[in-house]
Amino acid sequence: MLKRVHFPRSALPYLLVAPQILITLVFFIWPASQAVYQSFLIEDAFGLSTEFVWFENFELLVDDEQYLQSFGRTIFFSAAVALLSMSAALVLAGFADRVVRGATAYRTLMIWPYAVAPVLAGALWVFMFNPTLGIFPFLLDMVGIDWNHYLNGTHAMMLVIFAAAWKQIAYNFLFYLAAMQSIPRSLIEAAAIDGAGPVRRFVDHIFPLISPTTFFLLVINAVYAFFDTFGIIHAVTQGGPANSTTILVYKVFNDGFVGLDLGGSAAQSVILMVLVIAMTVVQFRFIERKVEY
């Protein structure tokens, strides 16, 4: 039997958590509930009257070809961002793990991109890929690729994927490096004595042993690509050309503030909210179970 410890009742613990609860209420719960409420309303084009319509906004979304396309695009976008930034980070961390001299400098440099604001990161990539001024279109032109992300939807998509992935590499790198460094040195040495070269050691031992980190990062990166890439998209393509980079978060903004369909926009954000909650739950469930070797 567990003994329950009894403390004298006092208001102090409640006072101590009060600020946290207040912040959560004001900045999270209240806006969220507003969004849910809004998603049940349809407003006329002039904003003069609103009507409570229950789930009509959601029904409209399900039938909306553009919304479904955007959904598919978002899934592709997040998968690409997660894959690209995680594999790049994995390779870099693999090298950093082997570096002995100048390791701190190398790691510090690696972390910088994370400190760059999304919009700035976007601006940076726009500049580098500017079809007339940028360095990359110039180089690509030499191998016969006519780069123009203002006109070509595929190019635009690639560019936002690069920009979003680049920004996330630092974060992934830190986690991967920490995971790799927590693998006992002697284990890798044993593999070396068993005859495994660096690549083989990575594939056979390091990668399986850091799989819990990979899973964790997969969720984090998916959430990032789903919800945190608004700034980058806004700076790089504004969702264009022809909606080819309009992912869900961008569509929420576009439909709500540009298209002024507040009800539809709110319904979309409620769907996003449900998605993020689902992902978080999945993550906690798996993390708690401690991935088994």
């Binding site: 006992p184 284990l187 040495e189 044993a190 593999a191 068993d194 005859g195 495994a196 399986p208």
Partner: protein
């Protein structure tokens, strides 16, 4: 199978030299134990042979081949680590098979060898388990199994038993020795436990502060220790050291007592007598003021001080014995049991 030759081996980390000009010839099939206190460079030496540490200068040969520049994988060695270093995500079978798989040995041959090793080590029932589902002793055996399936030229052991409890340690010690004799593989075994060293090794290399103090058979080390360090390190309880001056074959101790048979030395020396080489004799010249007697059953350990001085002494007497604290007992050294060491350098002076 192969011999190992260490020539003028030096290891330095930056400016600090941790191994100084180590020399050693290890013949084919020999079991060598490297022993010494913590931090003396045992692991470093072993890891240099394994190829896990670079050689600062000097050469290491396995067989007739200089291996200084070879990768660990190309040295045909197997190593058992102190923490076993088993692959946690692989089953016992996969752990043992891994090295063979990399060497592209056929599946049937791998299965045969793994099962043979599992039989020797009594690991059959555990082949499909993961390392975390095994006890410490079983893990230790898996680590051994991983080494023997490879059938390498050299076994390297870095304190493989230090994580086991005392009883298991004695048992595994015997098993390792039997296994090595059966397979006849040249082995280097690192430990800081002198009993382990004495019982396992064909020859011991005693390291101290990165210097080889002595390299010889356990009996050589016991009978003719080359330095006071070796003399104090080998044998339990440790040898008694008494400062003395010698002239004309007679040694005079600090309290004026005189001992004969002190050999050819002259001047200030350190006199060494093992506790078990002092025989009780009421008229004996070595007189000890008793402080405490430990009864071990088979023998008794008498702790005290050389009469009239502050020099600690231990005497081991067979059978039971009791003596009140404060009594003075006389002892005489057994024939030829006196060791003489240079008072300053600690080097042995041959009689």
């Amino acid at each position: 199978m192969a011999s190992i030759t260490l020539k003028d081996l030096v290891k330095a980390y930056g400016d600090t030299e941790v191994l100084h000009h180590v020399e050693g010839e290890i013949s084919d099939g020999e079991f060598i134990v490297v022993v010494g206190p913590s931090g003396c460079g045992k692991s470093t030496l072993l890891r240099m042979v394994a190829g896990l540490e670079t050689v600062t200068s000097g050469t290491i040969c396995i067989g007739d081949k200089v291996v200084n520049q070879l990768e660990p994988a190309d040295r045909d060695i197997a190593m058992v680590f102190q923490n076993y270093a088993l692959y946690p995500h692989m089953s016992v079978r996969e752990n043992m098979a891994y090295g063979l798989k990399i060497r592209k040995i056929s599946k049937d041959e791998i299965a045969r060898r793994v099962e043979e090793a599992a039989d020797i080590l009594e690991l059959r029932p555990y082949l499909e388990r993961k390392p975390r589902q095994l006890s410490g002793g079983q893990r230790q055996r898996v680590a051994m199994g991983r080494a023997i399936v490879r059938n390498p030229q050299v076994f390297l052991f870095d304190e493989p038993l230090s994580n086991l409890d005392a009883k298991l340690r004695v048992q595994m010690r015997l098993e390792i020795r039997k296994l090595q004799q059966r397979l006849g593989v040249t082995s280097i075994y690192v430990t800081h436990d002198q009993v382990e060293a004495m019982t396992l090794g064909d020859r011991l290399m005693v390291l101290n502060g990165g210097y080889v103090e002595q390299f010889g058979t356990p009996i050589e080390l016991y009978d003719r220790p080359a330095t006071t360090f070796v003399a104090g390190f080998i044998g339990s309880p440790a040898m008694n050291f008494l400062p003395a001056t010698v002239s004309a074959g007679m040694a005079t101790l600090g309290n004026g007592a005189r001992l004969a048979n002190a050999g050819a030395a002259n001047g200030a020396v350190t006199l060494g007598i093992r506790p078990e080489h002092l025989l009780q004799d009421d008229a004996g010249p070595v007189r000890v003021t008793v402080e405490l007697v430990e009864q071990l059953g088979a023998n008794s350990l008498l702790h005290g001080k050389l009469e009239g001085t502050d020099i600690e002494m231990v005497v081991s007497q067979p059978g039971h014995m009791s003596a009140a604290a404060g009594t003075v007992m006389g002892f005489v050294p057994a024939n030829g049991a006196l060791h003489l060491f240079h008072a300053e350098t600690g080097k042995r002076i041959e009689p």
